[in-house]
């Protein structure tokens, strides 16, 4: 934790020398603390952000108070200088509907179903994946493990698999007579209706997403483990702690910020789940039990052409994810991650 404050612990003579140096250089250098240097460094990011994301964000918010009536072609702005001409047309015919896009969500049962599905997948998948990632990280961090690099690469590889391909593979493996059920039945277990029962089809999504992202999170956690001071383990050993105690009382607390980071980013990722259910479950089958919230919004916008409602749903989704993240950050302790 070498931050600004850690300087206070350093040799005072260094500080004095610095102060002296700063004074002698005088006003020639911008003093960190004020000034515009920070803004200058931020400028590129800010410009791109302002151009490419601000407009979609603001426009989506604007749309959420309207009903889409059709594609517009009314001219808003027309420039003709003789050298070139430019015409900006209105994007859409809209009629103002106030908050009704927001209020209708309360009675939209498919939206509730999509929220339920997403939350269900989230509640099962994120803890499962983080737990697995943590266990793998701790196992690989053990000093006696050979071929660490190989295992690390292997476990992290799924994240490179193409989305369509890996979803297709899961689709094929999870068929009633697919590879997984073949394995299950050949060891005497009953076959599971992975794609046809509401419960198991959600578990299939959980499995697919967990398969893909566990290794990625494991690597982040593994990196966190490198930074746990070895002295803490030594001290715990002197106190007679066993492996499990060391895990609970040293590793977990030391890793807390990293774990928090992994939890928050995974939660956000799962909330944005879209392609896997589309490919594996063919868009929400069986009986809308796997339709996710982003998928539902996408359908509302692209199939039903209800752009206003879809925009309102987008904002509600953003609000929900923010609340979730805020809660996790609060439970996790330091809000300034």
């Amino acid at each position: 934790m070498a931050t600004r404050d850690s300087l206070s612990g350093s040799d005072p003579s260094v500080r004095d020398r610095l102060r002296f140096a700063r004074q002698s250089v005088g006003e020639r250098l911008p003093t960190p603390g004020e000034g515009i240097v920070g803004y200058v460094f931020l400028l590129p990011a800010f410009l791109l952000f302002g151009i490419f994301l601000a407009f979609p964000i603001v426009y989506t918010f604007y749309l959420s108070f309207f009903r889409f009536e059709g594609v517009g072609d009314e001219t808003l702005l027309w420039i003709d200088t003789g050298f070139f001409s430019y015409r900006l047309t209105s994007i859409a015919d809209l009629s103002f509907v106030g908050l009704s896009n927001y209020t209708r969500m309360f009675s939209d049962t498919l939206f509730h179903q999509a929220m339920f599905n997403t939350t269900f997948i989230l509640v099962v998948q994120v803890p499962l994946m983080v737990a697995l990632a943590l266990l793998f990280a701790v196992a690989l961090d053990a000093s006696f493990v050979k071929l660490r690099g190989v295992f690390r690469t292997v476990l992290a590889l799924p994240v490179s698999a193409n989305l369509v391909a890996y979803s297709t593979v899961f689709l094929l493996m999870m068929q009633d007579a697919g590879l997984i059920n073949y394995v299950l039945t050949s060891v005497g277990l009953p076959a599971i209706p992975w794609l046809t029962s509401s419960f198991w089809s959600r578990m299939t999504i959980v499995g697919a997403v967990t398969w893909r992202w566990t290794g990625y999170n494991m690597i982040i956690l593994l990196a966190g483990l490198q930074n746990v001071p070895k002295q803490l383990y030594e001290a715990a050993e002197i106190d007679g702690a066993n492996r499990i105690e060391k895990f609970w009382y040293v590793t977990i607390p030391q890793l807390r910020p990293v774990l928090l980071f992994v939890f928050v980013t995974s939660t956000i990722g799962t909330f944005k789940l879209f392609s896997e259910p589309v490919i594996i479950n063919g868009g929400g089958a069986p009986l809308d039990s796997t339709i996710t919230i982003v998928q539902y919004i996408y359908q509302t916008a692209f199939i039903d052409f209800r752009l206003g409602y879809a925009s309102a749903l987008t904002y509600v989704l953003i609000a929900i994810v923010s609340v979730f993240s805020a809660i996790q950050l609060n439970i996790g302790g330091e809000s300034d991650a």
Binding site: M1, A2, T3, R4, S10, L18, V25, P32, E34, V37, G38, V40, F41, P44, A45, L48, F49, I51, L53, I57, T60, I91, F136, A139, L140, A142, V145, F151, T153, V154, A156, L157, S160, A161, N162, L163, V164, Y166, V169, Q175, A177, L179, W211, I219, I220, L222, A223, G224, Q226, N227, V258, F261, T265, F271, K272, V294, A310, I318, S325, A337
Partner: protein
């Protein structure tokens, strides 16, 4: 003592068993993608008796993939029709035309350019947040962080509109520029840069370094391993983008996910070709991993997340 050694042995055995089991479970689907790419479609889709032994149809599947008329997965030599008579500018143009990029090259190119530019941008922004004080610093930082939760699939229509207004449709820039200011990247760089001692920067200032020199002569070199780690994250992010590239790029510029999706026909899914394409598309990432994974782990990446 002996008791302890035995317990240690059991423990080591369990640890290995767990890791190996994990590795196997991880590899089976990947291995299956590979196996499927070497079999005829009817062979690997046969549900009664799943095969796990590679066959010999890889090349014929690959040939079928290359023969498709609506998607080009791997590039080919371009037509060099106008190159000598048109002067130096057009020689350059035809130099590029030597090779017509397929989806694999497009993806590598786009993800590569994106990664490099985004590293630059994120590290600059991270440096600003970590080492400078300015008004509204916290609110700006949190605003950027908040964009992490944006579901970009849902911004497709306004983004497309914007791109067409500024003439970037069917341009690789359209899928590079919008997310260059990557919130995760900025966050991670800020966390990392905070560990650079102020004293180091101060003494450089005294030596007359400009603020920009502080950034690229001091901050960047010390951040090598976090930059490596971040580059994997950024590369994968761009590598996996699907919906927006699909909407904005035309045939001939497809990235891998879009190209693979063209193999899902109206009446038929070409699984064999999908598997070949998927196998090939894993290779670049595998290479990237091997190349960067040392830094990735030893990287200050997560250490910096810690506060």
């Amino acid at each position: 003592m002996r008791e302890e050694t035995r317990r240690e042995a059991v423990w080591q055995f369990l640890t290995y068993a767990f890791i190996i089991l994990g590795a196997v479970v991880t590899l089976v689907p990947l291995y299956w993608i590979f196996v499927a790419s070497t079999l005829k479609e009817s062979e690997f889709l046969s549900s009664t008796d799943p095969t796990l032994v590679p066959g010999d149809s890889f090349l014929s599947n690959f040939a079928a993939l290359r023969a498709r008329d609506n998607v080009q997965f791997v590039g080919h030599v371009g037509e060099m029709t106008h190159y000598i008579d048109l002067g130096p500018i057009y020689i350059a143009y035809d130099f590029w035309n030597l090779w017509n990029m397929g989806a694999i090259e497009s993806s590598i190119f786009v993800a590569g350019v994106y990664t490099i530019l985004s590293l630059l941008l994120c590290s600059m922004a991270g440096f600003a947040f970590a080492k400078y004080e300015f008004r509204f610093k916290q609110p700006i930082f949190y605003a950027i962080l908040a964009t992490l939760i944006l579901p970009i699939q849902l911004l497709v229509i306004p983004l497309f509109l914007l791109m067409s207004q500024i003439g970037l449709t069917n341009s690789y820039w359209a899928i590079i520029l919008p997310w260059l200011a990557n919130p995760l990247g900025i966050f991670l760089m800020r966390q990392n840069m905070r560990s650079i001692p102020d004293a180091l920067l101060e003494s450089a200032r005294m030596d007359g370094a400009t603020e920009f020199q502080l950034y690229y002569k001091i901050a960047l070199p010390t951040m090598k391993s976090s930059l490596a780690a971040l580059s994997i994250i950024l590369f994968l992010f761009q590598w996996n983008l699907f919906l927006f590239p699909l909407v904005i790029l035309d045939q001939g510029k497809y990235t891998i996910p879009v190209a693979i999706n063209q193999l899902v026909g109206a009446q038929r899914v070409y699984y064999d070709q999908i598997m070949v394409a998927a196998t090939l598309s894993i290779i670049p990432i595998f290479v990237l991993f091997l190349f960067l994974q040392k830094q990735f782990v030893s990287g200050i990446l997560a250490g910096s997340v810690k506060e």
